[in-house]
């Protein structure tokens, strides 16, 4: 079954307007859509991230589902404990980690790996804005090559970790990438993950206008261009089998880069280099798509 806009409109979701999120926040957009698919029978565990602040200050909260804030490295472990407790109580509840990229690919990777290896029945979501945005734009293990951050003032020199593939290597039943520029694809991946038992992982490309210095109104467009330029391919790995879920006509990477000041000042050679990396990744995914099992 494929979700339509009408299906999404039926469910109120767990985000209430008037939060502390920045205008045009991709993480909020992702949560709005995801929570509509997950429904109210869901508990969220959130490590330190922008999303800790987006909830807004005590004693109010912009989130209308049960949500527990936990220390930075610990989200996947805490979610494991929540799930096991509900199991003992005979309750069937969606247990979801909602984490940023720092809390996922850096400080949270150990707990995430442990929970994935144990096959905890939880959904781990990384909304990826490609840097430590809550602390004010410092590079993370998810920051792309050559991107400006406050701790990489002349551009990041290293490749980001390929986190979805790292999780997939744990042979979990479901791993997917998503983008706030492709909300139906995103919604359908949550719909699928919700029904699968075991450890699920969804990694969402999530625009951050203040962190990327992109126009506030272009949150969706930047995230769509990320996919259309093959910078952020959309795929899923279900029981080891990879499928590219969106195969757009390739657009020049330049169109994506030019919308964000974090890539300002790249030389022609650097853009070419990035274009080459993007195509290599895309071709590799096409190759993986042909094999019976990736992992």
């Amino acid at each position: 079954m494929t979700l339509t806009i009408h299906d999404l409109r039926k469910e109120p979701g767990s985000y209430l307007p008037g939060s502390a999120a920045c205008p045009g926040c991709g993480a909020t957009l992702a949560f709005r859509i995801a929570s509509r698919v997950l429904g109210p029978n869901t508990v969220y565990v959130v490590p330190a991230s922008c999303f800790s602040v987006i909830q807004s200050p005590f004693p109010k909260s912009a989130i209308s589902a049960p949500l527990y804030n936990i220390a930075f490295p610990a989200a996947a472990a805490t979610a494991s404990g929540v799930y096991r407790a509900y199991k003992m109580l005979g309750k069937d509840v969606n247990v979801v980690v909602w984490a940023g990229d720092g809390g996922t690919v850096d400080i949270g990777i150990q707990a995430l790996s442990g929970a994935a290896e144990r096959g905890e029945n939880i959904l781990y979501v990384c909304y990826d804005n490609e840097a430590y945005m809550n602390t004010g734009i410092q590079r993370s293990g998810a920051t792309p090559l050559l991107a400006w951050t406050k701790t990489t003032p002349s551009g990041k020199r290293e490749m980001p970790k390929d986190m979805p593939m790292i999780v997939a290597a744990h042979r979990v039943p479901y791993v997917a990438t998503a983008s706030v520029g492709y909300p139906f694809d995103l919604a359908n991946k949550f719909e699928k993950a919700k029904k699968i038992k075991g450890f699920k992982y969804i990694h969402i490309f999530s625009t951050c206008p203040p962190g990327w210095n992109s126009p506030v109104s272009k949150t969706a467009e930047v995230a769509k261009l990320a996919v259309d330029t093959y910078f952020w391919p959309l795929y899923e790995i279900e029981n080891g089998k990879l499928r590219i879920t969106v195969k757009p006509k390739k657009r020049p990477l330049r169109e994506f880069l030019e919308l964000q000041d974090r890539f300002r000042g790249l030389t022609e050679r650097e853009i070419e280099e990035l274009e080459k990396i993007v195509m290599e990744k895309w071709n590799f995914l096409l190759h993986l798509e042909k094999s019976e099992r990736v992992f």
């Binding site: 806009i5 999404l8 409109r9 979701g13 985000y15 209430l16 307007p17 008037g18 939060s19 502390a20 999120a21 205008p23 045009g24 926040c25 991709g26 909020t28 957009l29 709005r32 859509i33 909830q55 807004s56 200050p57 005590f58 004693p59 109010k60 909260s61 912009a62 989130i63 209308s64 909300p183 206008p209 506030v216 109104s217 272009k218 949150t219 969706a220 467009e221």
Partner: protein, 89 residues
Amino acid sequence: MGLGVPIIVPVSKPSKGAAGKTGLWRVERPVVNEDKCIKCWLCWLYCPEDVISEGDNGFPKIDYTFCKGCGVCADVCPTKAIQMVREEE
């Protein structure tokens, strides 16, 4: 301790406007031109703040109390039916 021990926990209740009337942040407001609107609801889908709903007349209605004026709705509108209009000082 006959007074009892108050257990003060950081438990917060879901609430609209948890960070206040965020509409005050707005520099530009989205205005829907109902003649151009085809009710595709993409504005609703992409609105990061969830402030677009269906008005009594069946067209998108924007909750200006909380709309932060990001302009994503105007950007994604396929018929250019939403215009960003500068807020008066």
